[in-house]
Symmetry: C2
Subunit: 246 residues, 2 copies
DNA sequence: CGCTACGTTGAGTGGCATCAAGCGCGGTGG
DNA sequence: CCACCGCGCTTGATGCCACTCAACGTAGCG
C-alpha cells in the first residue's frame, strides 16, 4: 500500500520500504468517515489525537462570538494536523470536513512507538508541522497586505501547487470543493465581494471555477497577479528556489 | 543564573536545577547584540541556527515585491524562534530587531545534545513552537475578521498578557517600543489610520500610548473591545481556561 | 542647523461591506 | 408529481471604513 502520506513525506526524505510499511499501518488506525460540515475536532477539546486526512478536504477554522468565522487553513489528503493535542492541553481551533472526509486518528502511543522505531519519520512529521506554520505565516501576509483579487489568486496558486504535489491536478484543472462562502471565510472577504472578484478573474482569463472544479489556464500569469512565490511551501528538499531567485 | 527562558518554560513544566543549569549554559552560547532595525536573520538563509531573544524586542516579517511589509509576530525576551532552520532548508521570513536586542544563537549540535541529555526540555521547546503557531493562527483571525480598533486592541491585549507572563508589567503599564508604522505593518492598516484609531481608543479611555510606554487602565474593558480570549496563548499548563468558559 | 524619523491632521476617494432581492438546483415529503 | 425549502450563486443600490495624498510640527542627531 502506497499511502498518500508516504508519497508526500517522500518528497522530503527518501523512505525505506520498512518505513513506508510503518506509515501504512499508522494510516489504518482508527479510520473513520466524516460527512461535509461535520467537525473533526473542536476548539477546547483535550487529547483528541493527531489527525491524518486520507481522503477529502477539510479546513481549520475559528469562530468569533458574533458569528464571524475565519478559515485558518485548508487540509488536503495526506495532511497531518492537530499535533497540538500531543503536547498542549487544549485545542485552540476547530477542524471541519468540507467534502466527505476519511481520516485516521493517531494515538499518542502509536506515534510514540513510531518515532522510537523510526526516528527519521519523526523528523518528517516535524517537517510537516513546520511547513504548516509557514503556510500560516503566508496567510497572515495574504490577509494583511493583499487586496481581494490578489488574495483569491494567491489562495488558488497555493492550492494548485499543493494539489499538484499529491498528484491531484489533471491538465490545468483540479477538484475545488470550496463554496464562495468558504472562500470569503478564508480570505476575509464578504461573499458578495468574492463573487464579484471571481468574475473579474474569470473575465481576465486567469481562472475558471465551475461545478467544483478549478482551471488555471496560465499559472504564471496568476502567480504574477497574486505575487505568489512557492518557496514558503518548502516543497524542494534541497531548498532550491523554484522561482529562480538564486 | 535564573534565565528568562527558564522562567518561561517553568510555566509549562517544572524544571530541575540541573535542567535550569543546562538552559543557562545554552543561553550563553554565541550571544551577540543587534541594533534597532538590524536583521537578526533573513528570508532565504540556510542553517542560521535557532535564536533565543535574551533582551529587547524583535519582530518577524515578510516583504512583498512592491515594498509592502507584514509583521508576522512580535518576539519578546525569552522567545525562541527559527526552529525552521533546524529542519527546513531555508528560512521563509526575516527577523529584525526593534529595540537593541541581545540574542543567543543555538547551534544544531548543542540543541541535539540538549534534547538527548534533557528529553523533557525538548518537549518544552516543542511547546514553544506550538504556542507560536497558535499565536500565528490568532493573528490570521485578527487580520481577516476584525476592524481597525479591534485589531489594535487585540494586539495590545496579547502583548500585555505575554509581557505580564515574563514579569515585565508594572502596574498597568509596560514598555511598548513599536512605532505607529510598526503597528500598521502588524495589523495591516495604514499609518494614518493607526494614528486615528489610537486616538479613538485613547478617547474612550482604553489605552494610553506615549513615549514608548503603554498603559491599559482597564484590561477587562479592552478585552471586550478586542474580543480577546487568552486561551490561545496556552499559558496555563493544565488547560484551564482563564476566561471562565468551563 | 539641516536631515531624518515619527506623530498628527485635513481632504478626497475608492474598495469592500451591507442590505435586499431573485434565480436555479437538488432534496424532501405530502 | 409537485410544492416547498434550503443552499449556493448572482446582481443592484447604498454607504462607510480605511486608504492615499499632502502637509506640518516636533524631537533627536550628526
Amino acid at each position: 500500500m502506497k499511502s498518500i502520506l508516504a508519497r508526500k513525506l517522500e518528497g522530503f526524505i527518501g523512505l525505506s520500504a520498512f518505513e513506508k510499511e510503518a506509515l501504512g499501518q499508522l494510516a489504518s488506525e482508527h479510520v473513520r468517515r466524516y460527512v461535509p460540515r461535520e467537525d473533526i475536532c473542536r476548539v477546547g477539546e483535550r487529547h483528541n489525537g493527531v489527525k491524518l486526512i486520507l481522503d477529502g478536504w477539510a479546513c481549520r477554522y475559528k469562530d468569533l462570538e458574533d458569528g464571524r468565522r475565519q478559515i485558518l487553513a485548508v487540509s488536503l489528503p495526506g495532511d497531518l494536523g492537530d499535533f497540538n493535542s500531543w503536547i498542549l492541553a487544549r485545542l485552540d481551533y476547530s477542524q471541519c470536513a468540507i467534502t466527505p472526509v476519511t481520516a485516521a486518528t493517531l494515538s499518542r502511543e502509536s506515534l510514540q512507538r513510531l518515532t522510537e522505531q523510526h526516528p527519521r519519520l519523526s523528523m518528517a512529521f516535524w517537517w510537516e508541522g513546520l511547513v504548516s506554520s509557514s503556510i500560516q505565516r503566508e496567510w497572515t501576509v495574504n490577509l494583511g497586505q493583499r487586496n481581494a483579487s490578489e488574495r483569491l489568486a494567491h489562495l488558488f496558486c497555493e492550492i494548485y501547487v499543493r494539489m499538484r504535489a499529491i498528484g491531484q491536478v489533471v491538465g490545468n484543472s483540479f477538484d475545488f470543493p470550496l463554496t464562495q462562502t468558504d472562500l470569503g471565510d478564508a480570505t476575509g472577504l464578504s461573499v458578495v465581494h468574492v463573487n464579484r472578484t471571481l468574475q473579474e478573474l474569470r473575465a481576465n482569463g486567469l481562472v475558471t471555477l465551475k461545478e467544483k472544479s478549478l482551471t488555471i489556464p496560465d499559472f504564471e500569469a496568476l502567480s504574477v497577479v497574486a505575487d505568489f512565490n512557492s518557496d514558503y511551501l518548502h516543497l524542494d528538499r534541497e531548498g532550491r528556489s523554484l522561482n529562480g531567485n538564486e
